[in-house]
């Protein structure tokens, strides 16, 4: 017979009901204060710091894999890659030469127009450390937090286009909402003619819906959508998506337009944080 069998014969768990009621009220309080305002961000932050090592642990195999990859690639591959990168860089340099003069010209013209002359933004590279944290949303976690100067509403791009914005910063990491999330919309304009529109996420990584486009609007398949900067959150001029389908229905007031995001939303590992102030 075991020593504490007597203890286990008693069915009662002490103060179960009272504990339940107290914790129930506490979680309701948390829910309301998290939904309405940011009172509990300190609690969330401290729990997030506790979870951060686990997140890094989960991310470790991927990092280890890429480390192996870089260390084991053969000499020939490296030479080839080096050559390709060199060519790439040459082309980029060429494009940059023109950009520098264009930028100068732009600043001069803006001065004439008395407009603000902010074109360059400082940037910071971040890495995505956790994806599909919530099946209902398109959220990812990056490895830059308040400590690195990330702030709520900061914009993320990859080498091709806009990815999303920071929803919540913790001390060491930040939660990012992608432009494909159903709760996300960003103001864009058509690069060709400056026609303003909204790009709304619809839960798919491969398409954004563009609502409220009149049937007679000047919009074509293949048009490039860039951020218009009108919402005040996104800096202007970053590419977002390309129009890939327009279906006109005469009985409806608006056309049914979708666009394909340029950034690879579900593949990117490295992202660029844009510092706009």
């Amino acid at each position: 017979m075991v020593v504490d069998s007597d203890k286990h014969r008693r069915p009662r768990i002490p103060a179960l009901n009272i504990k339940f009621i107290l914790l129930f009220c506490l979680s309701f309080f948390l829910l309301f204060s998290d939904q309405k305002n940011n009172y509990v961000s300190l609690l969330r932050n401290s729990v997030a710091i506790a979870i951060h090592p686990i997140q890094s642990l989960v991310d470790f195999p991927q990092r280890f894999g890429s480390w192996i990859n870089t260390n084991i690639s053969s000499r020939e591959e490296l030479i080839q890659e080096n050559k390709r990168l060199y060519d790439d860089q040459l082309q980029k340099k060429l494009a940059l030469q023109r950009l520098a003069s264009l930028e100068q010209e732009n600043i001069r013209l803006r001065k004439i127009l008395n407009a603000s002359s902010t074109i360059k933004n400082s940037v910071q590279i971040a890495r995505i450390i956790s994806t599909d944290i919530n099946p209902f949303r398109h959220l990812v976690v990056i490895n830059k937090g308040e400590q690195d100067g990330a702030y709520n509403g900061q914009v993320l791009v990859d080498s091709n286009g806009v990815i999303g914005q920071i929803l919540q910063t913790n001390f060491l990491s930040a939660k990012v909402i992608l432009i494909s999330d159903t709760d996300h919309a960003l103001p864009v304009e058509i690069n060709r003619n400056g026609f303003r529109a909204l790009a709304q996420g619809n839960g798919s990584f491969h398409s954004l819906s563009i609502p409220f486009i009149p049937n007679n609007a000047d919009i074509e398949i293949g048009d490039l959508l860039v951020t218009s900067g009108l919402g005040g959150k996104f800096p202007n001029g970053y590419p977002v998506a390309i129009i890939d389908s327009i279906s006109l229905n005469p009985t409806q007031q608006f056309a049914d337009v979708t666009a394909k995001p340029l950034a690879s939303l579900n593949q990117a590992r490295e992202v660029i944080l844009i510092n706009s102030n």
Binding site: I13, L16, K19, R44, V47, A48, N134, R137
Partner: protein, 165 residues
């Protein structure tokens, strides 16, 4: 075995299990299996509440719920509230649940996961997060299928004072 050592060993195993739970939640899954990701933490908490309710009851459910909330990025308190409710029910009836036949217990667990998902759905609805019906159904199916395996596996790890069938 002295009860103190037994309790300590159970506690260590439970904390390791919770750690593995969080890792399982954070690990990325392929798109195909995404909606079938089971509620690992809930299954673990149900097991603990049935078998060692003295050490792990409501407070633990609440804390693990908060951890899940933060790691999933959901509304703070959502999973905490849902698992609190389920674990309250389980702890209340843990002696009955212990003597249930295995199949019947699995049916009860399925029912509990349905309640859990319903609470999540409810809170999502109130706070204006819309999502497909399949994303609530997936965890119920996978959780029910996984429960017998998880229960058997965890049953091997923990030390119980009363001998089990």
């Amino acid at each position: 075995m002295p009860s103190e050592i037994k309790n300590n060993q159970n506690k260590v195993i439970a904390f390791l299990a919770i750690l593995i739970c969080i890792i399982l939640i954070l690990i990325p899954t392929p798109d195909l299996l995404k909606i079938y990701k089971p509620d690992w933490s809930l299954l673990l908490l149900i097991f603990l509440a049935i078998n060692i309710p003295k050490e792990f009851n409501l407070g633990m459910a609440f804390l693990v719920g908060l951890l899940v909330d933060v790691s999933k990025g959901s509304l703070l308190g959502q999973h905490a509230l849902a698992s609190l409710l389920i674990i309250f029910l389980v702890t209340k009836f843990h002696l009955q649940l212990r003597i249930f036949p295995f199949l019947q217990l699995t049916a009860v667990v399925c029912f509990l996961i349905i309640i859990y998902q319903f609470i999540l759905f409810w809170i999502n609805g109130v706070s204006g997060i819309s999502s497909s019906f399949a994303s609530y159904l997936g965890p119920i199916i996978s959780g029910t299928i996984l429960w017998p395996i998880i229960a058997k596996l965890l049953g091997q790890l923990f030390i119980f004072s009363t001998t089990k069938k």
